[in-house]
Symmetry: C2
Subunit: 335 residues, 2 copies
């Protein structure tokens, strides 16, 4: 590629490198209009571009932020990345990505690698938000998205998990559904799942966990995994209108597949609603009521917040905050 340096430009323009540097940094006050236009011309003609590497070294700063995502194949992730990228571009940051592939060890390595490479800030979609690797990270330069740590030491951007579920389930109740079930992958301590379930309990007032149904994570849809039995048992219990809320679209897929095998249909035999919305849901007839989360906005918010933290100097560090991004409730004909 081009081999021009600031020296070459200085020589061509018959000025010093300092003047060129000033020009590059927009300090036009420090030069005559004459040299300013001359420089502009030369730089334009030579197609010269300052080396970011050298610049970073000299200024001892690095305008790149590092992103670690838990699982890039998770459809939730893509819009988040998209939001982050767009923001970074706008703010003049570069962004480097790593994928943990749901592997906690891998995540640790990735984060460490990025830190060693002196990124200015970190945005993390954590595999396990309660991992203690985050304790070594400073809230001054990192933001967590999606999954929320139990002990909050770092700013976190999450979607409205609890209240949106609560509202949707309340809606189901308003439509006469009395026997409600929350279907989810194992809750473990994933805040997304836990909070969605919390919303469910808030609406239903169930005291125990009898209405929490779990299906195994990442299983083949073609196999029943015993869920068929569970479903069958529930469905043969005829006193009340039965409704299901699924924790995400892949769980919904499990439920529908199971129902298909057992020949149950909605909204006749049961009502259903889900967290998440995807294009393929439009194929389903009747349409599925769902909670649409705005992942793109989550990405944007994360970067906005990070930029603020990076570029403002606080006299005293503010307490870590949790920002909740609102969702849309889409009502269709599934209950």
């Amino acid at each position: 590629m081009d081999k021009f340096t600031i020296k070459d430009i200085a020589k061509l323009a018959e000025v010093s490198t300092a003047t060129v540097s000033n020009f590059l940094n927009g300090n036009y006050a420090k030069m005559s209009n004459n040299t300013r236009t001359k420089l502009a011309n030369i730089i334009n003609k030579t197609n010269y571009h300052p080396s970011t590497t050298a610049r970073n070294l000299a200024k001892n700063e690095n305008k790149t932020i590092g992103v670690s995502v838990a699982d890039i194949t998770n459809p939730f992730t893509t819009p988040v990345i998209s939001g982050i990228s767009e923001r970074c571009e706008k703010y003049g940051y570069k962004v480097i990505f790593t994928n943990s592939n749901n592997d906690e060890q891998r995540e640790i390595e990735n984060i460490n690698r990025m830190r060693e490479e002196e990124v200015a800030g970190l945005i993390i979609d954590p595999v396990n938000p309660d991992s203690n690797i985050y304790n070594q990270l400073s809230n001054a330069y990192t933001v967590i998205v999606d999954r929320q740590p139990r002990r909050n030491v770092i700013d976190t951007i999450v979607t409205d998990n609890r209240d949106s579920v609560k509202n949707m389930v309340a809606q189901m109740q308003a439509n006469g559904y009395e026997d409600l079930y929350f279907i989810s992958w194992p809750l473990d301590s994933f805040s997304t799942r836990v909070n969605r379930y919390a919303g469910f309990k808030l609406a239903t007032n169930y005291l125990d966990d009898e209405h929490l149904l779990t299906v195994p994570y990442n299983t083949e849809l073609t196999k029943s995994n015993g869920f068929d039995q569970v479903l069958k048992k529930i469905m043969t219990n005829p006193h009340k209108k039965i409704g299901f809320f699924t924790m995400n679209s892949r769980v919904l897929l499990q439920l529908l597949k199971s129902a298909q095998r057992l020949n149950y249909t909605y909204p006749t035999d049961f009502g259903v609603a889900t967290y998440e919305e995807f294009e393929w849901m439009q194929l389903l007839n009747p349409g599925i009521s769902c909670i649409r989360q705005d992942s793109f906005t989550i990405g944007c918010s994360a970067m906005n917040l990070l930029k603020d933290k990076l570029e403002t100097t606080f006299t005293n560090e503010p307490a870590p905050q949790v920002k909740v991004v609102p969702t849309d409730m889409i009502i269709r004909e599934s209950f």
Copy 2:
């Protein structure tokens, strides 16, 4: 973060910075075993990490590669990125991402920005592979994926578009389907679409384009856009078994939605197969026969190739090649 430099380490170990540098670069031959272990200890204890920025500047190299994707929300893209990332990690490259959002202008800006930032190489999933921006790029440091330029000047990794469609359609013919249609977004000059259609014609030997049905790009599934009429007309033509091949999953969605509205079902009223496979297809009953492409491998191959190009010095530049990544044909019950 840490403020240790190579000087500090040198001082602590009572050696010169040169020795430390040699240690860091694995030139153990140039020092005694004694200083080697001493250095190892100190570096370990101080948690010192050399500055990649300074290193890059000194060596005048930059181990990061730039990736430009046409549309990050395209489900094809995610596994490609995943493959690239994984490879980069393995080979010790960093990777920076940009999203063109299907905007050619934006893509140009992104690519230029990355070039200015002195990335070592470029992997491009192009918005418009025939754009002349690629003429300014050297085949020495760039690889194109997915969409294939008509005039090939840069190495390209694509999925097996033509032959896999040909084979699938031949399969449909073997099952007795005689009136076959290829449904696609407008072909324009997108190589993916063009090549898939070429495969279709190869199998069917249709001479004209009467059996090419196009649906508008990115439309709401809930609207018919006139496709319902087209479908209806075809379906009322009863002499032969009718079969459809859809160019990708989103087009499949269009077809199925339309069929749903008109109350046609497969494989009774028509047979169908599609390019691409996604998880939600498992919901469809009967199952849809499809061509599964290995996007992850495409990403890996792209990075493999790029690494080769970057790290080997050619006496004479080899001619640009097109690498075709094979697909899987999944036969289910949709025809």
